[in-house]
């Protein structure tokens, strides 16, 4: 049961990573990069790795989103296709 | 006796939370506007997160395990429930305010008095 759950979460993380690449709105792609880290946190909880989990939550979610959105507030939001 | 009552009360709260979570996720597709989707977000946060965490805290108290196991599970569940019940409504409120003021989404209404006040008053 838990292997099916972790397989679903890893597949959704892969879909999220592909959507980050093809997204024209840069602010949405920064937020979608956080979703990928949330799914990886669930996969690491199933695989019994609490140390990697706390590192993912602290760096991949908090620091990444805050710094990238702060930088983006000085620049252009939509990239040219 | 009281342990059995606590355990099945917690399992019942968990089932209610799962059903309300599915209802809220369908509601995200049924509503057509951003400002009406805030209702579905509140159902998903309070009904799908607050009640199941209380259910876990009640169900663990009725189990036949050591005291520290009960204390850790119940304490973490209650603290997380308090953070969710205080944080998510405040967060969705501030998100709706900033989305309205930055014209990210325009509301579909007939007359918009707040926008007229903000435009007419000069600096807001």
């Amino acid at each position: 049961m838990l292997l099916i759950l972790s397989a679903l979460a890893a597949t959704l993380a892969l879909v999220s990573t592909v959507m980050v690449i093809y997204e024209k709105d840069v602010a949405r792609s920064v937020v979608l990069a956080g979703v990928e880290s949330v799914f990886y946190a669930l996969v690491l909880a199933v695989f019994l790795a609490p140390d990697l989990l706390i590192a993912y939550v602290a760096i991949g979610l908090g620091l990444n989103t805050a710094i990238l959105l702060y930088v983006l507030s000085r620049g252009e939001r939509y990239e040219e296709g | 006796m009281i342990d059995t009552i606590l355990f099945y009360l917690g399992i019942g709260l968990l089932f209610i939370g799962g059903v309300m979570d599915i209802i809220a996720s369908i509601g995200f597709f049924k509503f057509k506007d951003f400002y009406t989707r805030l209702h579905a977000a509140t159902v998903g946060a309070i009904g799908g997160g607050f009640y199941p965490l209380l259910g876990v805290a009640l169900a663990v108290m009725g189990l036949d395990v050591d005291l520290w196991f009960k204390a850790v599970f119940s304490g973490v569940s209650l603290i997380t429930a308090a953070i969710i019940a205080l944080g998510v409504p405040a967060g969705s409120h501030i998100l709706a305010r900033s989305v309205y003021r930055s014209r990210e989404v325009e509301p579909t209404v007939i007359a918009d008095r707040l926008r007229e006040d903000l435009e007419g008053g000069g600096s807001n």
């Binding site: - | 946060a45 036949d64 967060g91 501030i94 998100l95 930055s102």
Partner: protein, 93 residues
């Protein structure tokens, strides 16, 4: 006293309910059009994943997996604050 093996018969059904909700929420996240809808769906998705993570820890019977639950719950409020500050700063420019 209720034995701890009793809760193991309820855990797969509960995890199935919350996993179905997780799939529908992530479809909403991937198909939304603007930034406000995305952040609103991510809030509900993260609350769902917190409950799922506590059920996983209850299935393994170890409390050490609960270390990431409280930071994940604080991140919801932090994301709302960061995104709304970004939108307000873009308006004033």
């Amino acid at each position: 006293m209720v034995s701890i093996e009793t809760i193991l018969s309820f855990t797969p059904v509960l995890a199935g309910l919350f996993t179905l909700a997780m799939i529908i929420y992530s479809l909403r996240v991937f198909t939304s059009k603007n930034l406000g809808d995305t952040v609103l769906a991510i809030d509900a998705l993260t609350v769902d994943l917190i409950v799922l993570m506590i059920l996983v820890a209850l299935y393994y019977r170890t409390p050490y997996l609960l270390i990431g639950v409280i930071p994940l719950a604080s991140w919801i409020f932090l994301l709302d604050l960061i995104v709304s500050r970004y939108l307000e700063k873009r308006r004033s420019k």
